[in-house]
Amino acid sequence: MIKVSNLTKTFGQIKAVDNISFELKPKIITGLLGPNGAGKTTTMRMLTGLVTPDKGKISINNKDIKKEPLEIKKMLGYLPEENPLYSFLTVKEYLNFISEIKGIKNTKKEINKYVRDLGIDKVMNQKIENLSKGFKQRVGLSASLMGNPDLLILDEATSGLDPNQRIEIRDYLKKIKKTILFSSHILSEVQQICDEVIIINEGKIIAQGKINKLLKAKQQLKVGFKNTTKTKVEKEIKSNKDIEFELSKDKGIIWLTISSNKKIDLRKPVWKISEKLDAQIYQMEEEKQDLENIFSRLTKSNDE
């Protein structure tokens, strides 16, 4: 179990991370989404012990990072932003080095597993500095995965890759079913990879939860009915437990705004009401708000 509470880090005047708390659900990918400078990297650096928090607590499997930093590091895999690697080594030397440091018993087997999965067998004897960006990324990912860590921390792991490479990494991450914290400043990336999301801006968490929920909560429909009354519409719509609604009346038109967290077609109940009450639909518009809108609205103050 990964738990972060009241984490704060200040650099001079800048509050890079401001009192954030979250828990990561096991075996799923949680996105850490925020514009550049939001504090994603700093948060991850605190999780990996590179930066010491001013305040707050980090614990993984009930071990505190302050008290047992080495134990925590044994449970972590980290792929830093920009994917730094020991470029003077060959891929094989690098993975061996990581394996040795992580104290992995059956090095060969462990390395082969990721090498095969990520398709880097062809480049094992090449110097890392000569690899293409895509291969480097896979080497970095393999290194972070070695030793089967309880938590995988990936900082902008897909940025700078071309679309195909991005899809490969994305599919792989989804396949392995590990607890992953995945940061990105690109919403669509998080939308495609993550199950949960933590949206962070100026060091503060501004929204968090299931992506689906964040998406759907905002999916709403606004309908204007003619030839009926507020009470009638209210009675009908109330019978549907999955729907939240608002009613208003303007110049003889009953305005109904409905939304739902469930995956349902919001138009259906509208048609039903219209049929049942014999009320004419004057106007119907979808106010679909995806995460994009939420994200840009929430982070309006400092667009990239």
Partner: protein
């Protein structure tokens, strides 16, 4: 205890011997020493190591800061520092692996002077113990210079600045042992000041005089800078 020291140390050496710049420093060091020695040998028919060991504190003023300037900071600049610190390694292992790798490069540098003792042995007065104490002193002096270099390199990511600071401190250290400086001081200061310099202890060792005071001073010097580097790393003051 220090399980990761060996893999870290090996990795450091690989890094070191991968960069051409480091070969240049070593080659220059070898070139200067061989040139000075053999010039004297051919012109004056003298095969003696005393000039070599006498010039060493000065030559090491250039070699060691150059070898040490990126020792702690190169990884910070390249970003691999983030990987390193996220791995289950102890701060002490990081410092020691880098220090020991640096020292290994020093030994490699001294290997370029191997022709000197061989020539002395075959042509001059073959006194093995002089050769032995001479090189012992040289390694001890290098180890001391290097400890300072490691600490300075952990303070700044800019290698030129690291070189200059290490060079300057070692330069002052050497001045403290020079007669032309000491003679300008009041008599009562001279002993105190010169006992704060590594050079007199080095000269003693080269001459076969190993004193407790010398050992204590040199050990204190080395351990102090290693521990300062350790605490600096532990504090994560400059992590970015």
């Amino acid at each position: 205890m220090m399980n990761n020291l060996i893999p870290l140390y090996k990795n450091e050496l690989k890094r070191y011997f991968y960069s051409t710049g480091n070969y240049v420093f070593i080659a220059l060091f070898g070139l200067v020493n061989n040139w000075l020695f053999f010039q004297n040998f051919f012109l004056n028919q003298q095969a003696s190591l005393s000039a070599f060991f006498q010039n060493l504190p000065f030559l090491l003023l250039f070699l060691i800061p150059a070898l040490a300037m990126g020792l702690m900071s190169e990884e910070k600049n390249k970003g691999t520092w983030e990987i390193l610190l996220s791995l289950p390694v102890k701060e002490a292992e990081i410092i020691l692996s880098k220090y020991l790798a640096g020292f290994t490069v020093v030994i490699a540098s001294f290997l370029t002077t191997i022709a000197l003792p061989i020539t002395v042995y075959t042509h001059g007065n073959p006194n093995i113990s002089v050769i032995f104490t001479g090189y012992l002193g040289a390694l001890i002096l290098s180890a001391s210079y290097l400890a300072l270099g490691v600490f300075v390199s952990s303070l700044t990511k800019q290698q030129t600045i690291s070189f200059l600071i290490t060079f300057a401190v070692l330069f002052v250290n050497d001045i403290f042992s020079q007669d032309y400086f000491l003679l300008r001081l009041p008599l009562s200061f001279r002993d105190v000041i010169s006992s704060l310099s590594l050079t007199p202890y080095y000269k003693n060792i080269v001459n076969g005089l190993i004193t407790l005071k010398g050992i204590v001073f040199i050990m204190t010097w080395i351990i102090t800078f290693i521990i300062l580097s350790y605490f600096h790393l532990k504090s994560r003051k400059d992590s970015r």
